[in-house]
Subunit: 432 residues, 2 copies
């Protein structure tokens, strides 16, 4: 899971000797997707899990040798690869803004450079999903959002998407593998295929109620919604769990289905909707009598922003005398700020965030309310506890909820706008 | 890699007995992404590879039991699961249109229903990438397109994206894992980090040339492009392979860099560009002296259409008397056409495609030039040869190139428009 050029750079740097220079690389984004007011970091736990197994197998090394991707010296280095440096960054689930140093890798050039593709793949995708999920969760208010997008994303991305969605406020997922790997709550009952499989809708509803119980969710829009709702109540009585609407004008439909259910004595039967929802559709359903939202395509594709444009840049390295120096490229539309960053979220006396302070080769000043944002993930190659597996997801979900509460009220606006707080660089004073 | 509801449907259908009815499910899309003139099918080979290992491990079965996702009878069914039905579909790399039956699964409801999420995940993502890649390849004309988007997609999606890109005309990828799995050609030399690692640009260029040879590609926009090009030629002479531009106004830059290289005697040194390209940017560079395009973000996110909106619908099944019947739901904005499809691409005497004929429970009429589109992939559970691994990718790439040549000229227009040929249903005549 590395790009070809990481290994050719490694080869050239091993030959020049520069491969062993200590470096600091940082992950950040130059801007948020157009109109977004904040981003949500996700994927750190998956990266840390993967880093424990980031090794090159003999099959892979043979491929590199046969294809002459790199020379024997480089292959020997990869055979013994183990990351021994330090990793710091924003806690998973944390909000981020342009230039927030969400991950820092400190190690030799050799060990830092070959992580680039792997870690960016994870953070870029997972954060795109979490950032969309957070807006949807906010739009849904207290109603639960259910992740159902697996079929619209690569099969492994689907598992990561479910995880990211739960970090950013979703309550459950349809993806069983995500349930298994990360301890997520999974949900699901039936699709149109189940109704169509049976000779009649009544046969299908009976089969489902017999097998899954009266509190199941019946899908009522295969043929005629009104007939299906009446049939569902006739068969299940007032204990029917929920009905699901997956097509048509959801607002109008939810209104009259609610009235119909109530008139039949099914005040406790819930309504769940699942048709092409995004944060705007969810917001437009706020006044409709809907109990939960199933979200698919728009969630797993980041609701218009399917990747997070995070980049991985070298910001400091030892020079030939062994002294650490800031470095940055000067390309026209892609310039970077050199030097190791740290970061503080400025919090005012009302507990509201007012700025993202990013110190460059200097500690960002902090008042008593302010929050330090960098966490120790890996020290001298040793993973610190609490960031991976189901435990990591729970912690990230809690972190996300806390960070959201701290943002100014504007953060929850869905209309396009600037980042809800500014990112401010704090630079060391020059002494001439 | 299944959705929770597939297994609850299985449980209810096992209990009602309907699980063992023979069914036909089909994969199709109701429409192409807005403005697209054709789609490219990709992922079939990956699905067929995965189907060979589509089993439920004891760890997974324990999870289903502990979480009470399904009952013991269902778990027992899953423990012994093996697909024994038939799979037909469009050859991988084939062009598709709205309602093209790109994959058909024939088997019991039980064995067909649990494949839904897995196969849609694969086809939806891979086809999104291939469809974008095809437009980019056409825009690039005879210049090679290189896939470099791994970092902007989930780490496993990145491998699938590289594979889909090569099927749709890309010549190579930066993703080494994709090279290993599918025999793809991989490429890469160095990033800005390599230049910044060294004390000077000269040190960096020297290190790269020493290690990778004079025919390497030097990245010349870390500091000052003109100085870097002059330095590169000074160090490598006229054997320098290529220079890479990754920022700024690429058209203008390519022009003067080409002139500079020529004036220095480096007529053979190539120029490759890699900055945020999509099919439109590639088209706008057609007149610029560029030799190859490195494409990243826009490729792996489907250039505005990150998924293909393919659905998996039951279209026919046995009734309680064992007779096959067409079935379809009647939902308001999501109706389907029941009945098993077949498909023919109508080709006129000039060899140009004029229509996608989709027969519904009837063979679509074919003239001598017309092309039957359905291929046998799996018969009675047995995978037919030639569709998987590196062999499958090569065949798909060839199929794609042939199908593209057959399309009307309008297919290559990048401006928004209707599908380049219409999809026409051929329905059995009703006998009353």
């Amino acid at each position: 899971m590395t790009d070809h050029y990481e290994l050719t750079m490694l080869q050239a740097a091993l030959q020049s000797g520069a491969a062993h220079r200590t470096c600091v690389f940082e992950v950040f984004t130059r801007s948020l997707p157009a109109g977004r007011r904040y981003g949500v970091l996700a994927g750190t736990g998956r990266f840390l899990e993967g880093l424990q197994n980031f090794k090159f197998s003999e099959r892979e090394l043979n491929f590199l040798a046969e294809r002459k991707v790199v020379n024997e010296e480089t292959i020997e280095y990869l055979r013994n690869f183990k990351f021994t440096g330090n990793i710091y960054g924003y806690a998973e689930g944390e909000i981020f803004f342009p230039h927030s140093p969400v991950l820092q890798i400190e190690g030799t050039f050799a060990e830092a450079v070959i992580l680039e593709t792997y870690l960016l793949s994870i953070l870029n995708y997972d954060s795109a999903v979490a950032s969309a999920a957070s807006r949807m969760s906010i739009a849904a208010g207290t109603r639960p959002c259910l992740e159902m997008g697996s079929r619209r994303a690569h099969e492994e991305a689907a598992v990561a998407a479910a995880r990211a969605a739960v970090i950013a406020g979703f309550t459950s997922t349809s993806n069983l593998e995500a349930g298994l790997r990360y301890g997520l709550h999974t949900i699901g009952t039936s699709a149109h295929a189940f109704t169509l499989l049976h000779d009649t809708e009544e046969d299908a509803f009976r089969a489902q109620l017999d097998s899954l119980g009266l509190d199941t969710t019946l899908l009522v829009d295969t043929y005629d919604v009104e007939k299906a709702v009446r049939l569902a109540v006739e068969l299940a009585g007032d204990q029917l769990g929920a009905v699901r609407l997956d097509s048509g004008d959801l607002v109008a439909q939810a209104m009259w289905v609610r009235e119909l259910l109530d008139s039949l004595g099914n005040q406790k039967t819930k309504i769940t909707v699942t048709s092409d929802l995004d944060e705007y559709a969810i917001a437009s359903l706020a006044a409709a009598p809907v109990d939960s939202y199933g979200v698919g395509t728009k969630l797993v594709t980041g609701s218009g922003a399917p990747t997070s444009s995070m980049v991985y840049k070298i910001v400091a390295r030892e020079n030939s005398e062994g002294v650490m120096e800031p470095v940055a490229k000067a390309s026209k539309n892609k310039s970077s700020v050199g030097g190791r960053k740290n970061a503080v979220r400025r919090i005012n006396d009302s507990g509201v965030a007012t700025a993202e302070l990013i110190g460059v080769d200097v500690t960002a000043p902090a008042d008593s309310n302010d929050r330090e944002l960098l966490v120790d993930f890996v020290i001298n190659g040793e993973l610190q506890p609490g960031f991976t597996g189901a435990e990591g997801v729970r912690a990230a979900s809690t972190r996300h909820a806390q960070s959201i509460r701290e943002l100014p009220r504007n953060a929850s606006r869905l209309s396009a706008g600037e980042p809800v707080i500014p990112s401010e660089f704090i630079v060391k004073e020059q002494t001439n």
